[in-house]
């Protein structure tokens, strides 16, 4: 990384020098999920309900999926995740196939590393093509780790795995889930990881998939987490390790906000997985310039447990008269009646477009986004593009696995309206490009405007 990109940390960060954020790996990665089983039982597991239930992506299904080369467009990394993929004896075969794909420069596994202390097994995986190891690391010492993982001896196994990865020359990065039990140990976690020299350390605030009503009581209050998280980020930066933070309010990160990145890679995973994806909101999302793409806010599960944090969070307001990119002006409201469907729909569509970085007038594949219209009597959004008199309409529907579509994102089914045969391929390219743009921000659970 270029030293010139570093800069001194302003107030709150002391004299530590900021590093450029770690490369944004989700955007250049395709995640393939299989092996939905695990040898530990983390109390905050985000796939707990999928373990021993979801069949996972078979190697044959993976091969079939990538026959559509558009799936690999812009992808330089294949990630295998589950479950604990090192439990699958077919993992080397998956890795070898991934390596054979055009443009793939890295093959990563997301793992608890408990089985990687076995150097021979690790070597087998690396010989098959796996070069990156994204290791879950949730506590700095055995007592807490084993409590979180609900398996005695987990911590020692993981440390052995980390040592092996480093010794064998694997690229290591780590992921720490922030939960109530470990929220005040984040600095100690970074301290414990320093000898392994990870490429990056990631802190994922509890992602409550399957815990919609906070029955686990797993979240730590963001106000309690904040000093420890900032301390951990500072420690990582002081040691030259770029950190990543996910699903934490941006307004609480101060000078470290640049390290917040909620993106996830596109994934081959059973559609059923997304039905329990957690929803996020911020009470200030309508007035904060960072809402949406730059900050997810708080999970609904968190709000159920701790509330909206309306006195702690602070919206980054736009200057008077300014608006978020592409946001329609909201007219003065009436106190006694709705100001009208046209206005509310226009504002809703504009806000919807903005969350994906779309705006009227922008060019995609040489076509200009001319307008957007909500379906009448059907949940559908039509995006209308135009170029030199040629018109193409791409329609988005809520994702329904039963629907025949041209392409999908995590939340939407997409088709393009019938066009002349000469325009068919252009319409396809346009729809694909639009899908990529939306998919970059769409982790599922998004709705249509209005």
């Amino acid at each position: 990384m270029a030293a010139s990109e570093s800069q001194s940390l302003p107030q709150g960060g002391g004299d530590v020098r900021l590093l450029p954020p770690a490369p944004p790996w989700p955007g250049e990665s395709l995640m393939v999920t299989f092996a939905f089983r695990c040898n530990i039982a983390c109390t905050f597991c985000m796939v707990e309900d999928a373990l021993n239930v979801l069949p996972g992506t078979s190697l044959e299904a993976f091969k079939r999926a990538v026959e559509d080369r558009s799936l690999l467009q812009g992808v330089s990394r294949i990630i295998f995740s589950g479950g604990e993929v090192t439990l699958a004896k077919e993992l080397p075969a998956y890795a070898a196939f991934a390596r054979s794909l055009p443009g793939i420069r890295h093959v990563r596994i997301q793992t608890n590393a408990t089985r990687l202390g076995d150097r021979r097994a690790l070597r087998t995986l690396m010989d098959a093509g796996i070069d990156e190891f994204f290791v879950s690391f949730h506590a700095p010492e055995a007592a807490l780790y084993d409590q979180l993982a609900q398996r005695e001896g987990s911590f020692e196994s993981i440390l052995a795995g980390l040592e092996s990865i480093v010794a064998e020359g694997g690229s290591l990065s780590t992921n720490t889930a922030i939960v109530a039990a470990n929220h005040d140990r984040l600095e100690a976690i970074v301290e414990r990881l320093l000898p392994f020299r990870p490429q990056s350390v990631e802190f994922w605030n509890y992602w409550p998939r399957g815990d919609e009503e906070a029955q686990r009581q797993m979240s730590a209050r963001v106000g309690d987490v904040r000093p420890h998280l900032l301390g951990a980020l500072r420690l990582a930066l002081e040691n030259g390790i770029p950190p990543v933070v996910k699903w934490f309010p941006r307004c609480l990160l101060g000078p470290f906000a640049r390290y917040l990145d909620d993106a996830q890679p596109k994934a081959l995973i059973d559609d059923g997985y997304w039905t329990r994806e957690p929803a996020y909101s911020c009470i200030y999302e309508g007035i904060c310039a960072d809402a949406g793409g730059a900050c997810s806010g708080l999970s609904h599960s968190y709000v159920e447990q701790h509330g909206w944090e309306e006195t702690l969070l602070s919206p980054r307001k736009l200057p008077a008269g300014a608006s978020r990119a592409n946001e329609a002006r909201v007219e003065t409201r009436s106190l006694v009646k709705d100001a009208g469907e046209k206005r509310t729909h226009a504002a809703a569509v504009a806000a919807w477009l903005a969350q994906f970085g779309l705006a009227p007038g922008m060019d995609i594949e040489g076509f200009r986004l001319q307008g957007a219209a909500l379906g009448r009597g059907v949940a559908m959004l039509a995006l209308q593009f135009e170029q030199g008199g040629e018109r193409i309409e791409v329609r988005l529907y809520p994702r329904d696995p039963r629907r025949a579509v041209f392409t999908r994102t995590a939340s939407y089914d997409m088709v393009y309206a019938r066009v002349a045969p000469a325009l068919e391929r252009t319409a396809q390219r346009l729809a694909e490009a639009l899908a990529r743009t939306i998919a970059a921000q769409d982790r599922g659970g998004r709705s249509l405007p209005g």
Binding site: G286, I287, V303, E304, G307, L335, V336, R376, G377, A379
Partner: protein, 291 residues
């Protein structure tokens, strides 16, 4: 509890009403919305009202009243509300009649009183022509079964008045806010409610995420309570609301087990809360639809 995949048995004897090609969909201020999923052949919101009549033992009387309103005013002009009085666990209802522009000759307090007369004795009457944009008529089991008189509420500007006989009593002041862009006004309004103590009460108990994700929020100050209303919430959020507010299981299950058949609809809900032993406590909750 009924299985989510298996529609819960109904209490109402009347056949379910389904949406036709000309159905229109309104929120509780008669603002029209597009259904959020294909509606043809799916259930009308009115079915929930009829089910509530049946649960309260007034299905026949309630249906007769609805029939009279539809016959007198035509379809898709009237808002219905079901109320749950938490202290008594009793259901009540209200019908709301809108005419923002006062452009409809057939819609007046006198004309609606006449339409309802065979089924309900409306005691309120307009003392003089008032600049209302809406009036409502309360229904109770006693009113439907025994002819107990029903007052009317008259809504003028951002206030409402209870009208019993020719007397008017101030009832309610309310404001509507965009749930997102005007959240600071919502917070100000809630924090200034006498029945909400920001140092003790938690906002998310009144405004949980599934209600916050609505179209507009209304904050009201009434004589004996404060209130919040949330417009255009989807059916799963309604199901959660009914569960949280401890509505009759049969009614909650009617919604919970028919989310596919009701999934095209948006609903409006509200809660009245009062400080009881120092905490904002829901004393009444309501659900609204149109027919």
């Amino acid at each position: 509890m009924a299985n989510a995949a298996d529609p819960a048995p109904r209490r109402a004897l009347a056949p379910l009403e389904t949406c036709g090609p000309d159905d229109r969909f309104h929120d509780y201020i008669l603002g029209e919305y597009e259904p959020i999923a294909p509606a043809l052949g799916k259930l009308r919101s009115l079915n929930l009202l009829v089910e509530s009549f049946a649960i309260a033992g007034v299905e026949r009387e309630g249906l007769a009243l609805l029939s009279a309103v539809r016959g007198g005013l035509g379809p898709f002009r009237t808002i219905w509300g079901i109320k749950r009085h938490h202290a008594r666990g009793e259901l009540g209802w209200e019908l709301y009649f809108y005419d923002f522009q006062r452009a409809h000759a057939d819609l007046s307090i006198d004309s609606v009183t006449a339409i309802l007369a065979p089924h309900l004795r409306v005691s309120g009457r307009e003392p003089r022509p008032l600049p209302w944009h809406m009036f409502s008529v309360e229904l109770s089991p006693a009113g439907l079964l025994e002819g107990a008189p029903s007052a009317i509420d008259i809504y003028i500007d951002m206030r409402s008045y209870k009208c019993d006989g020719a007397g008017l009593a101030f009832e309610n002041v309310y404001t509507f806010h965009d749930a997102r862009t005007e959240i600071e006004e919502v917070l100000h309004r809630v924090r200034s409610c006498v029945h909400f103590d920001p140092s003790r009460d938690q906002l998310h108990r009144l405004m949980p995420p599934h209600l916050f994700n609505c179209h507009r929020i209304c904050v009201a100050n009434k004589r004996h309570a404060d209130a919040m209303y949330f417009s255009r919430i989807p059916t799963p959020a309604l199901a959660r609301f009914l569960r949280d507010q401890q509505w009759p299981t049969a009614l909650a299950d009617f919604v919970r087990t028919r989310t596919d058949q009701l999934g095209h609809l948006l609903w409006d809900v509200g809660i009245d809360f009062r400080a009881i032993e120092g905490h904002a406590t829901t004393v009444k909750s309501g659900v609204y639809g149109s027919f």
